[in-house]
Symmetry: C2
Subunit: 495 residues, 2 copies
């Protein structure tokens, strides 16, 4: 059956059993500005009681955006919200007030410092859900954690929402955590302190994803967003651990041309990178790639020709931010880095990763979330993601800290399961996961190994064993593995 459409043509509405809609009208796309004030953006977002609002943590302890947003929400009188931040820091301690007044009743995301401390004593009805970077990305993309509104801090943005973290006074590095939220949230608000002429040259978040743009005086305190320069450790015990990491890698045959590595931004990890750099130099080898958070020490390796490529989703210092600006191909999203649901990640070929821990146990489980007194003070970060990816995942810990055993029978909280933890490097020797017989065979005779049980015994002998923590009945938080299953429950502590 022929029908006339709006451009004057007779068209068939059905062909070979398929129906076709006739053209009715065309109107030009609307290219107008999306800039509104903060209050209006939240009002227009449609955010309602009992919904979910998400944030990224890339402004770290310098962030002003989460606090500003929550203050406006309080003024709007919206209640019973679920927070789905990637992480909270000490600067966000006003979240505690919002919990007390009933504005926030659920949290899925890391609660570093005071908020975690508060929740450890004052559990919410639903436990805090702690996920790895990749695990959170997967939860957002799969719909397990659906943000109704995503608020995305940007150090520069244009009036249409093209947004970046790599230019502007508050530059923090490439936006890497928020793409999942930008794709899946019902409403997306970009918040910036630097409105640039259209179009913003870098578009880590692009205008097609953005509903509103909000311009504030300051998104944060640049001094606290990125470090001027992170320090290597001076502590001889930590230096020894760092050095042992490199000996282990070398014995395992990993230090060679085209190796792929990652290390964190802690003192031991940074120092291990320095020693790795020296060892590569001695052997006249060039590494292929570093992944994960970026620091000056890795930038220096690249500049010196000791490293061919850098992929990063987090810039820890000003050198790192500058590097990404000049090497845009180095910018990865968390999805590219560690989404467990995909057919591969930028980390899958990691030869080794060096990570820290608050505790490890004789099953090789690792705790990075709670302290031994039971307080939930840290997030999982990429710990699980890269342990599961790396061929040799190394945990660096002292056997004990002051009166607290670090190597234990069972960790207070499992953050990363022992299945994917390959080696524990301590000040009292190196223990390799017995499941990694291949690795033990490789290094045997080249370096000394100790049993994880011996390390535990040393820790318990020196400290008198784990302290007696009084836990309550209520569950404060749960740690999830990248596949969404539960690794552990974190219990309320009682004074």
């Amino acid at each position: 059956m022929k029908v006339e459409n709006a451009c004057g043509k007779q068209i068939e509405a059905e062909l070979s059993g398929m129906s076709y809609k006739p053209f009715t009208q065309a109107t030009k796309y609307d290219g107008s500005s999306k800039v509104v004030n903060f209050s209006n953006a939240l009002r227009k977002s449609g955010l309602k009681d009992s919904q979910t609002i998400s944030f990224h943590h890339q402004l770290r302890n310098g962030d002003y955006v989460i606090n500003q947003t929550l203050e406006i929400i309080r003024e709007l009188g919206i209640k019973n919200l679920r927070l789905a931040q990637t992480a909270l820091f000490p600067v966000h301690k006003s979240v505690i007030d919002h919990i007390k007044e009933g504005m926030i009743i659920r949290i899925e995301g890391s609660c570093n410092g005071p908020v975690g401390d508060y929740l450890s004593r004052n559990p919410l009805e639903y436990p805090v859900v702690l996920r790895s970077h990749g695990g959170r990305w997967a939860a957002v993309t799969s719909g397990e954690l659906h943000p109704n509104v995503a608020v995305i801090a940007a150090s520069s943005a244009d009036c249409r929402g093209n947004a970046t973290g790599i230019i502007g006074d508050s530059a923090f590095g490439n936006i890497a955590y928020s793409q999942a939220d930008a794709w899946h949230a019902d409403t997306v608000i970009v918040v910036t302190d630097t409105l640039v002429d259209y179009p913003c040259p870098f578009r880590e978040i692009y205008e097609g994803l953005v509903d509103y743009v909000v311009v504030v005086d300051k998104i944060g305190d640049p001094q606290k967003i990125v470090s001027g320069s992170l320090q290597l450790t001076d502590d001889p015990i930590k230096k020894k651990i760092a050095s042992e990491c490199v000996e282990l890698m070398d014995a395992a045959g990993i230090i060679k041309d085209d190796m792929i590595f990652q290390a964190g931004a802690g003192g031991i990890s940074l120092t291990a990178i320095k020693y790795l750099d020296e060892r590569l130099k001695e052997k006249d080898c060039v590494a292929a790639l570093s992944t994960g958070g970026l620091t000056k020490y890795i930038v220096d390796m690249y500049q010196a020709g000791r490293l061919k490529q850098v992929n990063t989703c987090q810039c820890f210092d000003v050198d790192a931010v500058r590097f990404v600006r000049d090497h845009l191909e180095s910018a990865s999203t968390i999805g590219e880095y560690s989404n467990p649901l995909m057919k591969g990640r930028n980390t899958d070929r990691l030869d080794t990763v060096i990570l820290g821990a608050t505790e490890v146990d004789t099953r090789f489980n690792v705790n990075v979330n709670t302290h031994s007194d039971g307080r939930m003070l840290h997030g999982i970060g990429g710990h699980q993601d890269v342990s599961t990816a790396a061929n040799l995942s190394i945990m660096t810990v002292p056997v004990y800290r002051k009166t607290t055993p670090v190597v234990r029978d069972l960790v207070t909280t499992v953050s990363t399961p022992g299945d994917v933890v390959d080696a524990i490097v301590t000040d009292q020797g190196i223990a390799i996961n017995p499941k990694r017989k291949d690795l033990i065979d490789k290094v045997q005779g080249l370096i000394d190994l100790v049993s994880i049980h011996d390390l535990k015994e040393q820790a318990y002998t020196a400290t008198g064993g784990p302290m007696d923590v009084k836990f309550g009945d209520k569950i404060v938080g749960i740690t999830k593995y990248v596949d969404g299953t539960v690794l552990d429950n974190i219990y309320q502590i009682r004074e």
Copy 2:
């Protein structure tokens, strides 16, 4: 109820009415190579009779990948396929044989040249579906056009599937069309002739999206993939039309600081760019952005400081490929460029776009798909997308070509509806769409305007009017607007 999970922890399987799955096991991600031979890749892809296979067209008339793929599919004996290429070129005329032997029974994608010509005389049971770049992207992401297997040609890739079009002997520019296919196809095969060390530095398609990597001798003929240098027109009529475009823009008040423009790669468009550049220079103005296909002429404007930024999803010459390699922030995907389903596109603030046409009509409808003899010889490309985006969309045509009227009562095929066509610039004067009263008011007195009906009369007088084409009853193809509605049916022609 507490259960013990696989890391030795007692966890609650239900909390506040929500159930939680206990952790069972963790295994390391598989980082092994995805390289297999072409035949195995297609076998393992699970491609079956009656399914859909997709390709991009960025190797243009130099492409070897579509032909190689189809030849292997023929050997595998798979039948009744639907092709979902972004475009076919003369080099793909073997598609006709595959149609004749029943291997291909449906096509959704542009059929430029011989295949379109063949189909115009020999319709398939289901009509060819022609969509704009943005319309196709939307159809793939919405599920209207679901590719079971996506075959993505890359000028360099690594063994895990990180793939690019901007480095390698067959470099063709940033891969821009295939991300939608890579996200949505069941199976993704990257085909390259340059396997680089892991990781490929540019990752327009990243490893998380890719199942198999195939290495072939040559993905195409570099001479035909990108032009050495596209030529400006020498034809005085075309030069006049190009010059009139710039007069129209100037009268409309568009030529000023921070203007945003796009122009195609045809002779008139390139020449109009040259004149626009000169006019900007005279006025001492700097444009903000050019979008769309990139050529040396736009690169030159950028280098001369006459243009602040470039966004591109198609590199037409070697200068353009080099530019994108050095200015990665310029690379856009088709989704960013023109996805009608999003909250904005990189084109929404276009001040003007200069486009060609085979025919235009008194309703301002434009035909770019068929010739006046009825043959379906071209795709829609970005024509609809940018006409719908630009504030001033300009069609450049002679009033007639030889004995064929170009300005007509009704175009043979509607490719872009008159609703979004603002001006028609011809060798006999400029006609503005009467719907754009604002524009007419603005330019009145500054330039001469003619009525579209007068232009049509001139065309009919000079040529004797449109030729009498003998159409059959069967429908060869349909043109869809960006919203999925049908603009027109293309009929079989009879000899």
